[in-house]
């Protein structure tokens, strides 16, 4: 490689890194505890709990919804999800004029209607998640972090291009321990950077895809679901809705053999203004991450469509586990956490190398 070419790649590597390092450090530091969200929530929210009538009849979903809304007067339902290992239904609602992303979350004992203690969503974890997702800035914050993710990809690719000429005379694993701190850290930066390339590209790339969740879902609704979304001029009021319990039953018939995951109520990102979107996932390791909604007309309770998701929504769904690292049990999470720490060292040493060089040439 010619000196001029190397210089050009160095410039790309330096500036793509400098622009993004502060944000990437924030993402790595907040991401570390987030990898262990499930475990940390278990510790932070540890509270013994048993359903009121373990063997008794369960409330139907309409009763659960009414109970939840009675406790949050004036709010409209957004989502309903179902705990896997306890008879608890989670109702998410929001005030009609609430800012985006502001929701009330109520876990409800389906055997009594009493509130159940939450097993997820400890405020500390929610704070970290929000900071990590959009820095409390909503969609602009998300897209900005997506741009920082693109910078990371540019920095990694240019780093690999520079690695080859740099290592022409140095065997793999070299850290020139006898040399100045700058040289030692440069060797560490190169060694740790190059072995983590694949993981960083996967986590960074899927992170970028996740920042596009809102536009991806909006595009899906505007194209594949456009006819359904335009079925009526105005949304139906909550009082005019058909039975939710029967809507879910109808959806089960349409998508047999799958597991109910959540219901998106009309007017949310995951549904149209006129349908309950009842989401199911498959039961193989891969299809657990892929959801398919049955859309039920909110006025009549009839099945409107089974909306098989297009490839870009599937890509978004698969980007979530590949970004969070929460799909292979605790061993995978531990490796995920260690690689996150290594990435912090690569980012920190990169910043140090730039500062040291800037000071030397000053």
């Amino acid at each position: 490689m010619q000196t001029r070419t190397i210089r050009a790649w160095s410039w790309v590597h330096r500036w793509s890194s400098l622009v993004s390092t502060a944000f990437l450090l924030m993402l790595c530091i907040t991401g570390l505890p987030l990898v262990f969200t499930h475990e940390l929530n278990e510790v932070l929210l540890d509270e013994p709990w048993a359903p009121a009538h373990a063997e008794g009849r369960r409330l139907d979903l309409d009763q659960v919804l009414q109970t939840a809304l009675a406790r949050q007067p004036g709010e409209v339902p957004a989502f309903m999800s179902f705990d896997e290992d306890r008879p608890v239904v989670n109702v998410t609602s929001r005030a009609p004029d609430a800012p985006a992303g502001q929701f009330s979350f109520q876990p409800i004992d389906q055997t009594s209607g009493d509130p159940a203690p939450p097993v997820a969503g400890h405020p500390a974890m929610e704070f970290l998640l929000q900071l990590h997702t959009d820095m409390f800035l909503g969609l602009p914050g998300m897209l900005f972090l997506g741009a920082m993710g693109l910078m990371l990809i540019v920095a990694v690719v240019s780093g690999v291009v520079l690695y080859a000429p740099f290592m022409r005379r140095l065997p793999f694993g070299t850290v020139r321990t006898g040399k100045a701190a700058r040289t030692r850290w440069l060797d560490w930066h190169n060694l740790l950077g190059v072995v983590t390339v694949a993981w960083v590209l996967v986590v960074g790339g899927t992170g970028v895809v996740n920042t596009l969740a809102t536009p991806i879902l909006a595009y899906w609704k505007d194209t594949a679901l456009a006819d359904l979304a335009a079925a009526h001029d105005a949304p139906a009021a909550v009082g005019e809705w058909a039975s939710l319990e029967r809507a879910v039953e109808r959806a089960r018939v349409a998508l047999p053999g799958r597991t109910l995951q959540f219901v998106a109520f009309p007017g949310t990102d995951y549904s149209t203004d006129h349908h309950f979107a009842v989401f199911f996932h498959g039961d193989t390791p891969l299809t657990t991450h892929l959801t398919t909604p049955a859309l039920i007309d909110v006025r009549t309770g009839e099945l409107a469509a089974v909306a098989e998701t297009p490839w870009y929504v599937k890509a978004l769904s698969l980007s979530q586990p590949l970004h969070f690292g929460d799909y292979g049990g605790l061993p995978l999470k531990i490796v995920w956490g260690l690689l996150d720490l290594v990435t912090i060292i690569v980012l920190g040493s990169g910043l140090y190398l730039w500062l040291a060089k800037a000071r030397r040439t000053a």
Binding site: L170, G173, V175, V195, A198, L322, G328, G329, L339
Partner: protein, 60 residues
Amino acid sequence: MTRRNRSLWTILGAPMIVGVFSLVGLVGALLEDGLWDLLGAALLATTLVTVLWGRWARRG
């Protein structure tokens, strides 16, 4: 430290193998459960093991 220039394969061999192992581990654990969860973690951990091996090979 050797003075002669090393070929691209010698330079990028170890990082490329580790990269392929990482990707197989990441995707394998997503496609299969059980043994693959452990195998996926182990394959991804080759990144860290390679650093230790590289440092050990260059020791002294």
